[in-house]
Every structure is written in C-alpha cells, then in structure tokens.
Assembly symmetry: C2
C-alpha cells in the first residue's frame, strides 16, 4: 500500500478516536457534543457573537441544512437565538445568548484541558504541535482563522 494512502487511513482513524475523547468529556461535563461546541466556539469568535447561518456553515465545513439541524437543539436549550436581518429578509442570524456565552467559557476550558492532555509533554513538544498544525493546514484546513481561502 501507498505511503500516502496509509497516512490517509491513519488520519481517519486518529480523528474518530480524538472526537470520541472530546465527546466523552464535553457531554459528561456540559451536555454537548464536540460538534455543538465547535458551533458555539465559531459563533463566539464572530463579532457580536452572531453570524449568518450560511457563513457559519462554511466556517464549519457543513451544509446549510447541517447547520439548521445542529443549531436546533442549541436554540431549544437557550444557548443560541435566531435573529433576523432588517434589510435582507432571507437572512437569519444565529447568535449566542448570555447563557450561551457563559456556558461556552466553561466548555472552552474543558476542551483546552482535553487537548492539552492529548498533546501532553513529554510525548508532544511545542515544535511537534506546530509541525502537526502546519501539515494539517496544508491538507486543507479551510474555515480557520488566518488561512482563508479567497473567493472564486
């Protein structure tokens, strides 16, 4: 088998394990999945804690319908609200609520702790992490700050 194919399959495998680990802690402590947390995090990074849903989808690498479905439970439990645009009737914003912001702070602390555990010294050095990040970005890390894909 190809080295490139081997590394591709390894990547897939490593990701599912990583996601499981985050899901376990986040759902145990905060009742959200990693996907939920990522949605909230991106919202929290946007100015005013709000984004058009279609932009959120692009940021997350989901389809618009994925965002609709993912936000629904977060709206139901009051972490996110829906806002409309005065000028453009098509647009709906997703916005963090006050509670959403508070809860996000806690989730972020948990997520950072898990990540720090996963990439803990002495197995992982700062250089390793930097190198890993570079390689992952090269692979197609769109939607993340600082590495934007210009419009077509």
């Amino acid at each position: 088998m190809n080295d490139a194919l081997d590394v591709s399959l390894r990547l897939v495998r490593a990701q599912t394990a990583l996601v499981k680990r985050f899901d376990a802690s986040l759902s145990g402590l905060h009742g959200v999945s990693l996907a939920d947390f990522t949605m909230l995090l991106r919202l929290g990074q946007a100015p005013g804690g709000r984004m058009r849903r279609v932009d959120l989808a692009e940021k997350l690498g989901l389809t618009a319908s994925g965002v609709t479905r993912g936000l629904a439970p977060l709206e139901r439990i009051g972490l996110v609200t829906r806002e409309s645009d005065a000028r453009d009737g098509r647009v709906a914003y997703a916005a963090l609520t006050g509670t959403g912001r508070e809860r996000l702070t806690d989730m972020l602390a948990t997520a950072e702790r898990i990540a720090a555990e996963v990439f803990a010294a002495p197995l992982w050095s700062k250089e390793d992490i930097g190198q890993f990040s570079t390689l992952l970005t090269r692979l197609g890390g769109t939607g993340l700050p600082g590495h934007g894909t210009p419009p077509p």
Copy 2:
C-alpha cells in the same frame, strides 16, 4: 485558544474534507464509500481474506454492530460472504469473494491515486508524509476502543 485545541479542531476539519474526496471518487468509480473500501481492504489483508467480524470491528475502530451494518450491503452485492466456524457456533466470519478480491484491486488503485494526488509534490515531500505519519501514529495510530470513557 490553545495550540493543542486549535490543532485538534484542524484535524477534525481536515479529515472530513479528506473523506469527502475519497468518497467522491470511490463512489463514482466503484459504487462504494471510503468506509466500505476500508472494510474490504482490511479483509483483503487478513490471511485467506477472512476475519471474525468482531476482529474486523476492532481493526476498523468500529463497534460490532457497525460491522454488521456495514457488511450487509457488501454481502448483498456479492463482494463479501458470511462463513461460520465449525468449532464455535457463535462466530461468523466475513470473507472476500472472488469478485470482492477483483473489485478490491481496482478500488485500491483508485484510492492510491487519490492519496497520491492529495499528498502530491511539490507541496508534500516524502519526508513530510513520513513526519505526518509519525505524528498521527503517536496520536492514536492503530489504537483501539476503550480510549478511556469515564462514567457519567
């Protein structure tokens, strides 16, 4: 945000993109998903092209029920058959059929081509790929289920 958390989220993002790319080509050319292909590949690597289903699950990082569900369509289209163990009535094997082997050869060629495209020079050197593989292995490599799921 943490570097470690950042790299974790990048990993998740990169994987979904990669999977989409493989899925597109594999399903277009061979009518199977990447998950299907990976199942067949692991079967093909096993002696005699057959494995106990529970071992296959472990190899793939799935649950036993995931294997049952994943193999069903492959059995239906005749790439895999079910065999039973003469000594242990509980065990069922999954085995590649002749057709399965042939089709797998083609799929493998496609998958290797895609992987080679993704990790193509000049963006990726052989050393980059090796480094990437090392880091991914460190992260969970061929690891297995039971990655520590604490009680609720």
